[in-house]
Assembly symmetry: C2
Homo-oligomer: 534 residues x 2
């Protein structure tokens, strides 16, 4: 107590002596709070261990939405809200069991494919191998699938992982990231893409019309990892047949028996439940108000939803926890930025970036979609739609920072093709060089919630992260669990995220905007192709 009083007196004296507030600079305070009193792993534990899997519109995701709102409120963020958008049905994976019962009994590692229907209790049937990957393969199996469980994948061989599963960037690697690559624009027509989107439904219809009872595919990673991604969440698109993903080792054993006999018999129990109370998914948003209402806002985002195979830890509990921790740090320090800092936890990223797209359509800009377009095809149309119609809020969003590449520490930021933004991003990143965050990479990236910002010409950025084992074994897999999150990395990421937001919110210069997208021309207009099938 005595000591604290003395400290106070000393501070007051110093303030007077220097004639300026003797408060530590903001970046140093962010680093102090984020490194010495971090909450990021405690927050991640609540979300990842406590709630677990968060498939959009599932019971887990509903819990996570409430939790996130509460969390933002507990930090004292302003205007905490949920913004809904049409998504489709909820789907809970209650339990499942898959066994080979002949030629010898063995329990298999498997997972129901998301948004496929349950089995009626336990389904028991012979399997048949029917490798199918395109519509033109259907004909070969007509009349051969009745009463069967259909194995639709080629089995392939065991993997030979000659590259390390876990790695970090070195300086050379970071430098290589920043070598310019010319874009490649394909001839792929909208029509072809829409047809591809319909393939899963066509396959389900074909199998059902042939009298098959269920289908199974192989997991795309071996080592007994499973994933279970599926996309038939829109109302009215629920498939007829249960679908399961079988671990590679177990699938291949079935395939060998199916080839050499005796034909294996499977038992499948897929205990899943559709939820139809609310077809909307939600983004959870809160903010720290800026001191200048004319200055616009900057924003951090990460998707809160996950797939159902594990706990959604590095994809994307990590990003969610970092966005929340950045908010906590800045709120705890009582910063009063010039621009508002907004924090968003997106829904429905995994099925097509629906949450961030909904935000853009509501607040930023829209691209036209023909009326009557099926919900499942809206996203594909959206990217082609022209012209871009700006909303009133278009100019207000000055910078968006997205985190969604696992729990590796931030090594820099992608300028996302916005080459004019590089100098300012470098300046904002500079205090974090000693923590390994140094690279500003001009190239664009895809695959997550900054993409539709690019699509309307808003400065949205993704971070460069140490890859760790995100891509090699964790992404969407059954081992995406808390123990694969790296505490030291996530503390660093939270500090850099908070620092970048603060710099962007207080910057005197605004980030230059990227060019407004138009229809690109094919890279090679003199190219020929063989005719497409059908």
């Amino acid at each position: 107590m005595t000591f604290r009083v003395q400290q106070g007196l000393l501070l007051a004296a110093a303030t007077v002596a220097l004639g300026a507030p003797a408060r530590a600079n903001d970046i140093a305070r962010v680093i102090d709070e984020g490194m010495n009193r971090s909450q990021v792993m405690a927050t991640a534990h609540e979300l990842v261990d406590g709630i677990g899997a968060r498939l959009t519109n599932s019971t887990g995701m509903r819990r996570a939405e409430k939790w996130a709102e509460h969390k933002m409120q507990s930090y004292g963020l302003s205007d905490v809200r949920r913004e809904g958008f049409e998504f489709g049905r909820g789907w809970d994976l209650i339990d499942s069991e898959v066994r080979m019962v002949a030629p010898r009994p063995i329990k298999l590692t498997a997972i129901p494919v998301a948004w496929t229907p349950p089995t009626d209790g336990t389904l028991r049937a012979e399997v048949v191998m029917a490798p199918i990957s395109e519509r033109r393969h259907f004909a070969a199996y007509r009349g051969k699938l009745r009463g069967k469980i259909v194995l639709i994948s080629l089995p392939g061989d065991g993997s030979e992982p000659t590259e390390p599963y876990f790695r970090r960037h070195d300086s050379a690697g970071l430098g290589k990231l920043d070598e310019y690559r010319q874009p490649e624009h394909s001839h792929d027509s909208l029509e072809e893409r829409l047809k591809r989107n319909k393939y899963a439904a066509d396959l389900d219809n074909f199998l059902a019309s042939e009298g098959a009872l269920a289908w199974a595919r192989i997991s795309y990673r071996d080592g007994k990892l499973v994933h279970g991604a599926g996309y038939s969440h829109h109302v009215g698109t629920t498939p007829k047949l249960p679908g399961i993903e079988i671990a590679a080792e177990d699938y291949r054993r079935l395939a060998r028996f199916a080839k050499n006999g005796p034909a294996p018999v499977l038992e499948i129990r897929s205990d899943v439940r559709f939820l139809d109370q609310d077809s909307q998914a939600y983004n959870i948003i809160g903010e720290i108000p800026g001191s200048d209402p004319q200055a616009g806002y900057v924003m951090a985002g990460a998707h809160l939803d996950s797939w159902a195979a594990a706990d959604g830890a590095v994809d994307n509990g990590a990003g969610s926890a970092v966005v929340l921790e950045a908010a906590r740090i800045l709120k705890t320090l009582g910063v009063r930025p010039k621009r508002t800092i907004r924090f968003a936890l997106w829904g429905a990223e995994e099925q097509g970036l629906y949450g961030s797209l909904a935000y853009i359509e509501r607040h930023i800009a829209s691209r036209p979609v023909p009326s009557g377009t099926p919900a499942a095809q809206r996203v594909s149309y959206w990217r082609e739609g022209w012209p871009i119609a700006k909303k009133a809020g278009y100019g207000q969003l000055k910078a968006y920072f997205n985190m969604d590449n696992g729990s590796g520490k931030l090594r820099g930021v992608y300028a996302e093709g916005n080459h004019g933004a590089v100098p300012l991003l470098k300046e904002w990143m500079s205090p974090f060089a000693s923590m390994g965050a140094t690279a500003v990479v001009a190239a664009p990236t895809g695959g997550t919630d900054h993409v539709y910002m690019q699509a309307v010409g808003v400065p949205g950025f993704q971070f460069v992260q140490d890859p760790l084992d995100y891509g090699s074994r964790l992404h969407h897999s059954s081992i995406d669990t808390f123990d694969h999150m790296k505490a030291a990395d996530l503390r660093q990421a939270s500090v850099v995220m908070a620092g970048m937001l603060l710099a962007a919110a207080n910057s005197e210069k605004e980030l230059p905007r990227p060019p407004l997208p138009t229809q690109p021309l094919p890279t090679d207009p003199f190219d020929y192709q063989f005719p497409k099938d059908e």
Copy 2:
């Protein structure tokens, strides 16, 4: 038909002209048969897919013993027989299920520990973390375990696999293998080793006396792999409590909840069955008789048993299939070697090389074990026993080749410290240089069925194999399945095995014997140690 007749005429003519049989040389015929008409993967499929796990004295292993005898008979091997030896109880893993039911429901990946008792239906209880690895830790948990499922392992962190899982030797690596390393002999007394052997029983007694209901340990690999090794197979040593091994990701989640609350509740159903009809395990043996009854015999061996977590593919379906394929190749070619070639498929390797030890005790030599030594401690005594008593067959075994390091192709052979054998081994290996088998490495190796041959001074050798992903993820794990066996490698291995056997069987020179083992002196007789606990 015409063409064949012509060929025959030409051959006959050539034979006459050269004054010698125009038959291709034996090594070339071995390579032709083993590469162009290989059965090794078909044989492996029957064993690994068809029978699956082969825990010693389990139902699977009994099937495999019969299958192996039949297989040897079908090739026309002579004197096919089973040689029994005392091992203990059989144990079948019928089924199991482990669930966390609070704080939220989730099915865990887990496996019962071999030779632990079943649960009585489904056991439901709170877990308690009680990290224990030595007897001196017991005291800290007295009075705290009643009615609980005890988690005995430290949870640790997720692995960071910065080395590739899958690799092959390059020339530099093979060269490095052959750098002489001086042996290190420890002060570890027989008494200490025997005490360590008793630790698992002491832990079981402690947990039972405290009223715990079951115990769980963490898997030693992460990525949701489990293993389930246990050693309480001797009659009269069955533990009181069920034990399970939980996948690392699932164990660590339990540990985090146990630390921060709410205390997790588990349901365990371990449906296992002890088999007491026959406490003997068996070696399966057959041979190709030599033309000279005085010339002794050479031998190939691999263990047929496996752990229960998967199908025992690379450990050691691979070695078993290669030994059988070598027999098939040589028998198919109708070779008549000078020395008998014997083929052995060992039982009970995984629990302490019991099968090969039994063979040695019966046919080669023995080391004294005090009467009244418990069965579980015989193996430890055996290595210390002195003097070595040779049997009549001691001099008859001229060379033994063991295969038990996965499905990687053979890159050479270890001379196993028998430095005088190097030149002859090099000569025998030389026809296989173009297949990558080149290295003769002087150093000794341990861990498999040639070890007790070393212990009585008989020339027993293990092969140098490409490591692949044997050690990194397959060995003893739940993904030791057929799809991780490499067909091209196993064809090569079969050919080299057959070739080495044939060379050794026909060699005019006999391999020199290694020095007869004695008690080694400690490497550093002036070393000090802190007192041991207790």
